[in-house]
């Protein structure tokens, strides 16, 4: 579901406040549900062009996709919930050893 996104630097792994999210383009089938979910949770709009995850056609091979996060991604993990193809993986922050509520 390629849409035109603004040019920005992109990466396939984002770490933010100890949350980690990574994307495996080899598993991406281009459904675009992640873009839809992201644009809603971050921008309160159903509009993939505003998403912080970017799925584009890969011109190297028919049916492959180039899947990356834009620089605005804060690794919230919402898109991983909406990925049914095991392409986006969300790693919850590990608990600090010895951390308490005190």
């Amino acid at each position: 579901m390629p849409f035109r996104l603004e040019e920005s630097s992109k990466s396939s792994l984002v770490e933010f406040e100890r949350r980690v999210i990574d994307i495996d383009a080899a598993n991406c089938v281009g459904c675009g549900l992640c873009m839809m979910a992201c644009s809603w949770v971050k921008q309160k709009q159903f509009n993939p062009t505003l998403a912080f995850v970017d799925i584009q056609r890969d011109d190297q091979r028919e049916g492959d996709f180039d899947a990356q996060f834009t620089e605005l991604c804060d690794a919230c993990g919402f898109c991983a919930h909406w990925c049914y193809y095991d392409a986006i993986h969300f790693h919850k922050p590990a608990k600090k050893v010895g951390a308490t509520n005190e």
């Binding site: 579901m1 390629p2 849409f3 035109r4 089938v29 281009g30 459904c31 675009g32 549900l33 839809m36 979910a37 644009s39 809603w40 309160k44 709009q45 159903f46 509009n47 062009t49 505003l50 584009q56 056609r57 011109d59 091979r61 028919e62 049916g63 492959d64 919930h81 909406w82 049914y84 193809y85």
Partner: protein
């Protein structure tokens, strides 16, 4: 009552009174997320934007339903399918381009140019960005003077000269447009077949989406319209987004929770589902029936339509060391485009050669089922010595990929005998002689699609089989969920499934089919409910893969519609609207000339027995009894509220559905003297 003179100018104010929009400039506040109607006049090179009114949405749901309504308004009388007065409409499903699972389907509508077919309607997954650009419906009128393509973005609608694309195949056309404009554009285009007005030409999108059957590529060709390209960046409005997100996530989890089905769809798409799960196939020697061979020879991976959690389309690459090594392309339906027509239908044995045939037919822009049907008709006539090799012009025989590819090129370019085949199977058989007509296996002038056992009408009727017979556009996948038994999705037989799914489909308690009654009685009575349910699904843009529809009870669809649009309708209202759409289409095809006789298949079904293989056991089915078929049709028409004798809708039925205006306009056709 409309004024025919004004209607002739396609004036919106001449539409049926209730939908007058001159006083309602904007959508009423009670409805959310409806795009506009974009009317492009190719003759004048102009366009305008017309709103969808709330009354229209209430009566025709959205998407294909409103598209059918527009078709009836733009084409009120008999029209020449390839003349400038024919109108091509692209309707995008009402929930498309949102988060709703699998909602990504769009429908092209027109008067079909295929001889014997009336309603031109074809459904594919794509062009959803039309909604992001602000439009739900695209209406194309007239004929451009020179080849053009329509370019639609948020800001503008443009007719772009397309001389440089004319003559290019569908893959080249898409590549050219992507390198001109960027590959975020969705492209629906025609190939050489559409340009040459081949009567079964397809519209191909993004190099794999096929709006295949009923020959709408030729309608585009007749309008000098090479392609429609669209890119939108606007948001899709949802009335209650939070609840919608929750409901969609739950639905997605239900769909993907059926892990066994999901595995099958992603491993091999529609073909795997038929060959591995249904395990009931027409007999043919092709390797495509051996799924290990399929995996061994093809490097394949799933691709999804926008918003779909299933992913049944496939990107294929022929492995090294084989003929056509390195050939790569995407096929939307591995069954309908590839393995069915060329493996099962024409008996091409090696998988890589079957793949080559599918690639060529997509490049040329033809409907694969009709193309394979025509070639098998030709080969049968050759076997029966009714047509000679000299007349064919090449040495063609069953299972020979090279001659099949040559024949496909001849058809698409109307060379030699291809020119005769390109005019459709019925005229071709008639041109060969009266004996040749007995070889047809057509439904409404369209060759039987060898996609599954549902392709064979047998004495053992199911709703899947009857759906082939009674839908308005001939033999194709439409309005047939739930499938007959024997699948991973539907473990029981057809009637048992129907009884179990009565609530799911919205069948009223007192009309639930009796499992003990003969199928020839219960099936036609249940058919109208299945059509209504499926029509709702099509209007909303849902795909008809059983794994998806299994999660979409009619109540669930109604809830999604409410959450998306804010229009407070119940499931019953949607089903009633679907029935209205079905009857509107029925009147429209009747006006175009379709009669009860068109609901009958070719004579051959009544004469010849058919063989199927299930789990290695060959079963022979007797020919269909004409008496039984007559009775089934009578029962079906009666259940629909139509006259059994003529198959024409009863006036009371139309009036009850609020279609009394059709009676006023077409009384002469509906009440023949």
């Amino acid at each position: 009552m409309s004024n025919p003179q004004r209607r002739k100018q396609y004036g919106i104010s001449s539409w049926h009174g209730e939908y007058r929009v001159d006083e309602a400039d904007e959508q009423s506040s009670g409805m959310v997320g409806f795009g506009d109607i974009l009317e492009v006049d190719l003759t004048a090179g102009t366009h305008r934007r017309l709103p969808v009114t709330e009354a229209m949405a209430r009566d025709y749901i959205g998407g294909q339903g409103i598209g059918s309504y527009l078709l009836s308004q733009y084409i009120p009388n008999v029209v020449d399918p390839l003349g400038p007065d024919n109108v091509l409409i692209l309707s995008v499903g009402q929930l498309d381009a949102s988060v709703v699972p699998s909602a990504s389907r769009s429908t092209f509508l027109s008067r079909s140019p295929n001889p014997g077919t009336y309603l031109g309607m074809s459904n594919g997954g794509g062009m959803v960005q039309l909604r992001n650009a602000g439009f739900d419906q695209l209406v194309m009128l007239g004929k451009a003077e020179e080849p053009v393509y329509i370019k639609i973005t948020d800001e503008e609608v443009e007719l772009v000269p397309a001389h440089h694309l004319w003559g290019r195949d569908t893959y080249e056309t898409v590549d050219d447009i992507w390198s001109e404009l960027g590959d975020h554009y969705e492209v629906a285009c025609i190939g050489p077949a559409g340009e040459n007005l081949v009567r079964h030409a397809a519209i191909i999108g993004d190099k794999h989406v096929a709006w295949g059957r009923t020959g709408l590529g030729a309608v585009m060709g007749s309008k000098n319209l090479k392609a429609i390209v669209v890119s939108g960046t606007q948001q899709i409005q949802i009335a209650e987004p939070v609840r919608m997100m929750r409901l969609c996530q739950r639905t997605n989890e239900e769909i993907t929770g059926d892990t066994e089905s999901i595995r099958v769809w992603r491993d091999g798409g529609t073909w795997k589902w038929i060959a591995d799960v249904e395990r009931e196939v027409p007999r043919a020697p092709s390797e495509v029936f051996d799924l290990d061979m399929y995996d061994e020879k093809l490097d394949h991976r799933p691709i999804a339509c926008p918003g779909c959690p299933v992913g049944c389309k496939h990107a294929l690459k022929v492995r090294e060391g084989l003929k056509h090594a390195g050939l790569e392309f995407i096929v939307g339906c591995t069954s309908g485009t590839m393995c069915g027509p060329f493996g099962a239908g024409l008996g091409v044995v090696p998988v890589e050669e079957v793949a080559k045939c599918a690639e060529v037919v997509q490049r040329l822009g033809m409907d694969s089922s009709s193309t394979a049907g025509l070639i098998s008709l030709l080969l049968e006539l050759h076997d029966a010595r009714l047509i000679s090799s000299e007349e064919i012009g090449i040495d063609a025989h069953w299972g020979d990929e090279e001659s099949i590819v040559k024949l496909m090129n001849m058809i698409a370019r109307r060379e030699g005998i291809g020119g005769r085949l390109a005019d459709g199977s019925v005229p071709f058989a008639e041109s060969v002689g009266p004996e040749a007509v007995n070889f047809l296996v057509d439904w409404k002038g369209m060759a039987r699609a060898v996609t599954s056992s549902g392709g064979q009408l047998r004495s053992e009727m199911s709703t899947a089989n009857l759906a082939w017979a009674v839908n308005f556009r001939g033999h194709m996948d439409r309005h047939r969920y739930p499938f007959k038994g024997g699948t991973a999705d539907q473990p029981e037989g057809n009637i048992e499934t129907l009884v179990k799914l009565a609530d799911h489909l919205g069948i009223p308690a007192d009309d639930v089919p009796d499992a003990a009654a003969p199928k020839s009685e219960s099936v036609p009575r249940a058919m109208r409910y299945i059509q209504d349910y499926n029509t709702v699904a099509y209007c909303l843009g849902f795909c008809d893969r059983p794994v998806i529809l299994n999660a979409l009870a009619i109540e669930r669809m109604a809830e999604m519609y409410r959450l998306a649009t804010g229009i407070q309708v119940q499931a019953d209202d949607l089903l009633r609207a679907a029935r209205r759409i079905w009857n509107l289409e029925k009147v429209w095809v009747t006006v175009q000339g379709q009669t009860r006789q068109d609901d009958y298949p070719s004579e051959r079904y009544f004469i010849e027995e058919s063989q199927h293989e299930k789990l290695g056991e060959v079963r022979t089915f007797p020919p269909v009894s004409r008496e039984v078929y007559d009775q089934i049709m009578n029962d079906y028409y009666d259940a629909e509220g139509w006259h059994p004798g003529t198959g024409l809708p009863r006036i009371e039925t139309l009036e009850e559905l609020g279609l009394g205006w059709l009676v006023e306009e077409h009384g002469d056709v509906l009440q023949p003297a």
